[in-house]
Amino acid sequence: MRPPPGTVLRYPPFSRFNHWVTAVCMVLLVMSGLAFFYPWLYWLTVFFGGGQMARATHPWIGVVLFISYAIMVVRFFRHNLPHRDDLRWLRALGHVASGREELVPEVGRYNPGQKFVYWANAFLILILLVTGIIIWDWYFYNWTTIEQKRVAVLIHSIAAFFTILVLILHVYSAIWVRGTMPAMTRGYVPVGWVYRHHRKWLRQEAELAAQGKPSAIAGAPAVRTDPR
């Protein structure tokens, strides 16, 4: 799908695929995980074919999620490094929350809130993987003591809880900031959206386009398709 002129390419097809694989895994893991955590949500196991199947598939879906998210971590790493301007943005967090972005410093490809989601998930998913392997009794029962498994299962549930909070933040932000969804469905966003929410990034890309270099600006002679 070629982005129409007047739009900016945000995510090439692989990034979108990568994101939705991660998202589907996350939803499935939250469903089966909550089913194991809350007896009143145990009925969610029917979506997996019953309790035994939910128990058997949960860790494998977790492995897929880990690999998928690890690819995202590598591909989006450069843009999620902290920047000096992030502090100024964080000081204006009140204006961010109330949607008065004219009072918020200009943002590059990602704002610090998005960077937080990136790093929080990177950290939490690693914890979930390690603790998850410790309690994956079918393969790794003999690797750890029961006391270590008790610690692991408690940390696993706490990390999962924070992951769900981050997920709620992520999904709500994507809904609240209108015009965001096409970035992950079609891959491009309108120029007005980029100007409002990621002005520094738009300026950089427009500069590249002006120099005839590959940029994310649709309609320019050279459109870049890597995740940068």
Partner: protein, 324 residues
């Protein structure tokens, strides 16, 4: 769900349902008098016989303990220990290991599958394998290291205290087989009386001043009790825990953390709705669109082809009806 038809169930794992409280049976107990045990393993054989399991033949590891551990097909096990007492004499300590049938069962507390673990009003804690999902949480919940995960059918197993026999008024198979009276079965009150009498005898006439009854209060008491010659040192009997409790890790995981977590997750969702209602959507306004285009056009003058013509603005105002 387990068979509630018996009306004997008082606790159900992972369930908020009220179990039927109709029938309150007498609490039963198995009394294991290790001071009378000769280590013949008749109880082990009887358990295999009644429950019809056949563990594979293992290998000799230098002790009488055989097989070496409990397993999904070994619900009870004679554990043999050689202990040197204060006088330098060797004491051969033999303990029949298996589920203690706690009044406050850690396995049941940890279990996430509704009805996979139940407690009957007579005190027996039973695994209902058809509801078991094989997660191994019961292993983490148990303070005695009893439940075993089956690599065959991926479910957990342990001693049932022959709940099938007891419900028909029979004693457990191991009790039936014991040739020395080291194993007794009856109401918990009677077993406590018998044990106390035996403890008196051990203390007064047999020269075991520290003899005592092992009915640990940390788990609310158990429905399998031991008479020990050295009740002050239960750990010398193959690591019988001195003061067993459900681990605080399990207590937190299955306790206060759950309502706190659901409250926080609910607040996050409700808070999102409130935020949406107060501030409305964060929308791109016409100024952003125009400024964005200017930014792209200015910077990339001549590089990007002209935009297609704007579609006419959609009017939300209906043309007025002509006045008649």
């Amino acid at each position: 769900m387990t068979d509630l038809q018996s009306l004997n169930v008082i606790r159900i794992s992972a369930s908020d349902a009220n179990p039927p409280q109709l029938r309150q049976n007498v609490e039963v107990a198995k009394l294991i008098d290790v001071t009378r045990c000769i280590g013949c393993k008749a109880c082990q054989s009887a358990c295999m016989e009644w429950n019809d399991y056949r563990p594979p033949v293992g290998y000799f590891n230098g002790t009488y303990t055989n097989p070496h551990d409990l397993s999904h097909d070994q619900f009870t096990l004679m554990r043999f220990d050689e202990w040197v007492n204060d006088e330098g004499d060797l004491e051969w300590l033999i303990r029949k290991d298996g589920c203690m049938h706690c009044t406050d069962p850690g396995c049941l507390k940890a279990c996430p599958a509704p009805g996979a673990i139940v407690q009957y009003s007579n005190g027996i804690v039973d695994f209902i394998e058809e509801n078991c999902i094989g997660c191994g949480y019961c292993v983490k919940g148990c303070p005695f290291n009893i439940p075993r995960y089956s690599p065959v059918d991926k479910r957990a197993y342990k001693c049932t205290l022959c709940s099938d026999r007891v419900s028909y008024g029979l004693e457990p198979a191991c009790i039936k087989a014991c040739p020395t009276g080291a194993l007794l079965f009856g109401s918990k009150a009677d077993m406590t009386d018998v044990a106390n009498g035996r403890v008196e005898e051990l203390r007064g006439q047999r020269g075991f001043p520290n003899a005592g009854l092992y009915d640990p209060p940390g788990v609310g008491g158990t429905h399998v009790m031991y008479v020990l010659h050295h009740a002050d040192k239960p750990e010398i009997y193959s690591n019988l825990p001195k003061d067993p409790h459900i681990s605080w890790l399990v207590q937190v995981w299955k306790g206060a953390y759950k309502p706190l977590a659901v409250a926080a997750m609910g607040l996050a969702i409700v808070g999102s709705f409130i935020h949406a209602v107060i501030y409305g959507p964060n929308e791109v306004d016409p100024h952003d669109v125009e400024a964005g285009r200017r930014m792209v056009d200015r910077r990339s003058r001549g590089v990007i082809p002209p935009r297609p013509p704007e579609p006419p603005p959609v009017s939300h105002v209906k043309p007025e009806e002509p006045v008649k």
